[in-house]
């Protein structure tokens, strides 16, 4: 198997328009979450992470398309090697795409179709290979990264661009509200007082390559698994997430002791965070430092896996464990070693996990190339 390197990245979020802007804000403990009181998004006020600086908007493209274009272009501009438009592969990840273009009429706007969205973005950049569109609930971003890494590991492609994005819409806010899943304030992953999620919007891009051109970080592709338990409730035992973690570690012959920190899913719903604590206990990772970035970006759905992977990689390069914002007191079924304050630590290996509706779980590993 070939090694897979990260050669470029970008994040478009309320915290900034580049990876560096986003990472430095996160390191300072700044959150993009605020109260949103706008009938365009929901009849009553709620807390979410909304991009208000609309400098990224591209003419003749929707809001989400503009975010994808801006994020991918910025990542390409900052990539350590030129993009081979003939041979590179684009993998997009989203849960709802241009769902803001869906209305009550009988005709569905063509851009609402996710295949059209990926073809439009691919055509904008003039890539010659057919694009892929992953839409697998909240693990979409990690799944897209794993697929990209596998394509490079096996030598099918030598360059893959992964970009995940979702926007805040009334569609999504009203849905999570009907599930009683929205927090009344800022979300607090793993905390005793946690009461639900904040929806966020963002787009994030990672460029991976089989060639190590000034890259310091490798991607070790992980596995997905299904709980086979409930479509909207997480596993009662955590065994699905445990399976995806243990298969990923075994495949790369990495022991749990080598994991310097886990960036977990941590949505701050009671059930999700409890399930994760069970899975980490099963994996004997309950003493490993863990954080969630949902309290910085909100739950950005199809972008979450990508954005959180990028911040994890930046914190690894910076040898800094980032605090899990909003956490004060352990409140999960099994106590976890939640990172309460930023601290310096030599980091070489990071485990990233995600879980979602439909019982899906995913893991991926990032490692310094030393």
């Amino acid at each position: 198997m070939k090694d897979v390197y990260i050669t470029g990245s970008n994040i478009v979020s309320p915290l900034g328009m580049t990876t560096q802007e986003n990472y430095s804000k996160v390191k300072k403990g700044v959150s993009g979450i605020d109260q949103i009181d706008d009938r365009h998004y929901y009849p009553s006020a709620f807390y979410g992470s909304l991009i208000t600086d609309n400098q990224f908007l591209v003419q003749e493209h929707s809001r989400l398309e503009s975010m994808f274009i801006h994020s991918i272009q910025t990542a390409i501009d900052e990539n350590t090697e030129p993009i081979d438009k003939e041979n590179c592969l684009l993998i997009l990840s989203t849960t709802k795409g241009n769902i803001d273009l869906l209305d009550e009429g009988d005709e569905i706007h063509k851009d609402v179709f996710l295949g059209t969205l990926s073809e439009k973005i691919n055509a904008h950049f003039g890539f010659k290979k057919n694009p892929m569109m992953v839409s697998n609930a909240c693990i979409s971003g990690v799944m897209a990264i794993n697929m990209a890494a596998r394509y490079i590991e096996t030598g099918k492609y030598s360059q893959v661009i992964v970009s995940g994005g979702d926007i805040i819409t009334e569609f999504v806010v009203s849905g999570f509200s009907s599930l009683m899943a929205l927090s009344a304030g800022h979300c607090r992953p793993y905390d005793k007082e946690r009461d639900g999620i904040n929806i966020g919007e963002a787009c994030a891009t990672i460029i991976m390559s089989g060639a190590n051109t000034n890259s310091s970080v490798k991607v070790l592709a992980g596995f997905t698994s299904n709980d086979a338990n409930h479509i909207s409730g997480p596993s009662r035992t955590g065994d699905g997430l445990y399976n995806s973690i243990s298969k990923s570690l075994e495949d790369h012959k990495i022991s749990t002791r080598e994991i310097d920190f886990i960036n977990a899913h941590g949505t701050a719903t009671a059930f999700n965070d409890d399930m994760e604590s069970k899975a980490f206990k099963l994996a004997e990772l309950d003493h490993t430092p863990v954080n969630s970035f949902k309290s910085y970006f909100g739950h950005t759905l199809g972008a979450a896996g990508v954005i959180e992977s990028i911040i994890s990689v930046e914190s690894m390069k910076d040898n800094c464990l980032i605090k899990s914002l909003g956490f004060k007191q352990n409140g999960t079924t099994f106590d976890l070693n939640v990172i309460g304050e930023n601290c310096n630590k030599n980091v070489t290996t990071v485990l990233k996990t995600a879980s979602g509706f439909g019982g899906c779980n995913a893991a991926v590993i990032f490692q310094k190339d030393e």
């Binding site: 198997m1 569109m133 992953v134 096996t154 299904n226 086979a228 479509i231």
Partner: protein
């Protein structure tokens, strides 16, 4: 290394239900999707109460899986490690439209959690996983057209490099009264009839592989 083989496949179109290319049930063309799926459920004598809670996409995926697996006698270990890889073109738009209608007016604002949970395409995989206790890898991807080449290439990688021995692969698509389902079971069973390649995937998608 054993060859990968298509053991069996099921197709559901607007007219009929096919198993391994043979018509096994005819729909009443004038009936709506909902009525046709209920008729199929009854004719198969199924007793799975979750069926009635599902949206159209999950019903179509679930019924396809029942027809596919009913004669295969696969063990629980086989299901436990099976990988599910589904694609379609309309994602969950059939149910998205229902959720959108429920929030379209201030006067009648009634988003329903039981509708909203189906506004993710991969829920249909979750339903199949729950029915058969399938705990392997999951993939849900969206393409405007059935892409046999991609599906074959990626799943071939899964078999060769990522420990997959049993694969449920297909295309399940619903939007209003347009629908099409195709599910195939792929494994390294040398007694199976058909080689797993993109030509045979296209033929089976068209219910023409015999």
């Amino acid at each position: 290394m054993n060859k990968k083989m298509i053991n069996s496949y099921v197709g559901i179109t607007k007219d009929a239900v096919f198993k391994d290319g043979n018509k096994v049930f005819s729909f009443n063309e004038s009936e709506l999707l909902n009525e046709n799926l209920r008729a199929l459920y009854k004719s198969e004598d199924l007793k799975y109460s979750k069926f009635y809670k599902m949206d159209h996409l999950s019903r179509l995926a679930y019924l396809s899986s029942e027809l596919l697996f009913k004669d295969l006698e696969l063990s629980s270990d086989t299901f436990n490690e099976m990988c599910i890889f589904l694609t379609n073109s309309t994602a969950s738009l059939d149910t998205d439209s229902a959720h959108q209608k429920s929030i379209s007016s201030n006067e009648n604002y009634q988003p329903s959690p039981s509708v909203f949970v189906y506004t993710l395409t991969n829920i249909m995989m979750g339903e199949i996983a729950i029915r058969y206790k399938i705990k392997g890898e999951n993939y849900c991807l969206i393409f405007n057209k059935f892409d046999a080449e991609f599906m074959h290439e990626y799943s071939d990688m899964l078999f060769e490099f990522y420990g997959v021995n049993h694969l449920l692969i297909g295309w399940v698509d619903v939007l209003k009264n347009d629908y099409k389902s195709f599910l195939a079971y792929v494994s390294k069973d040398m007694n199976a009839k058909w080689d797993f390649n993109s030509d045979n995937l296209i033929k089976s998608y068209k219910n023409e592989l015999r």
